[in-house]
Amino acid sequence: MIDIAVVDYGMGNLRSVSKALEHVAPSVSVSVTSDPDVIAKAGRIVFPGVGAMPDCIHELEARGLREAVIEASKTKPFLGICLGMQALFEFSEEGNVAGLGIMPGKVLRFPNELMVDEKGEKLKVPHIGWNEVHQVQQHPLWTGIPEGSRFYFVHSYYVEAGTPDLVAAFTVYPFPFTSAVARDNVFAVQFHPEKSQAAGLTLLGNFVIWDGKV
């Protein structure tokens, strides 16, 4: 029995995600997989990804993973990371494609005209580096992580949640955007916990023991 399935749809480096999971839970079996049956049988799902949204959706379809991911998101502890968070929503400005529609909301690009800080200095896109994550709802995955902890981000698009109750955290760049969402058994983050040192490993450790309830 596979405890954790890391969904592999050809979008980026999944090695660091699986290595980080093995690091926080050495006794747990982690499988990087593109097999819908393995995903169906796994106890919990990590849905990572970097790259562009149109390719993401295309690859999910081409590998027959779309239904498996949607099905898993209904029942099991499910963690979306970066593109894996964005893909849960209804629509992305990146390539103007439909997402999986698991959550209401859309994915937008940081607008050039707003990318200036309070001192009038230009802010760069992609948003790359360590930024503060402000927790706005209690959640088992925040256990042991101080409010405002810094996590590592690298992205040019962000999620605009369709309903405010989905928002689990926000980050400021230069305006507040949604950096984590939560609903039932699904938790998803824009940052990379697998690259966020102690805070990130704590979050992954929390996910590994999460029962999927809030």
Partner: protein, 256 residues
Amino acid sequence: MGLAKRLIPCLDVTSGRVVKGVNFVGLRDAGDPVEIARRYDEQGADELTFLDITASSDERDIILHIIEEVASEVFIPLTVGGGVRKVDDVRRLLSAGADKVSINTAAVQNPQLVADAAAKFGTQCIVVAIDAKQVSTDPEPRWEVFTHGGRNATGMEAVEWALKLEALGAGEILLTSMDRDGTKNGFDLPLVRAISDAVGIPVIASGGVGNLDHLVQGVIKGHADAVLAASIFHFGEYTVHQAKEHMRRFGIEVRL
């Protein structure tokens, strides 16, 4: 409070060892890359950059093993550069555990490589390294792009090249001043500022850091989004943590 400025220790690797030279020549051994990576991670490094400065291609696999080993115990972003010539080189480094790949000489010889790699793996993991040298001061400072570790002039102006790289899909620029690299005289601040102000993507300043004030200047005067240094950390002059404390005292937002 928002995005922190990044401090990135750089490890030049050859024959499985970290080394450091002056103006790209005169190498001095600094230790085992995995041990050094672990130490900088513990000290609070925001990322690590590995540059494979191996001349012979048969030693290429050494860097892959080093990255595999580092990536299984160090959970911060890893950038790897040196000798990246084709899309398949990018793929191999990413699958060994690199988060970003830095392309240098090959981007000059074949700019399409930047576009192809960005299209395939995403803009966020394609860093392009620019090695620049000041070629005139009159009427305005002018910097030219060099390749092959600083040996070959390209005739290209550095700011124009940076803008072209952004358009091609580079996600970040790693900017090294060849006049300053290894000298400990500080960054070439007018160069850093010229490029950082011109492009919309992050710029990592590199080359010349000899003390902690240089890091501060790179951010405040050079407008760098990240600062990279090697020898001040390798030989125990400062820890990464001390450097970040120093930056914070000057009002720079850092992750501590």
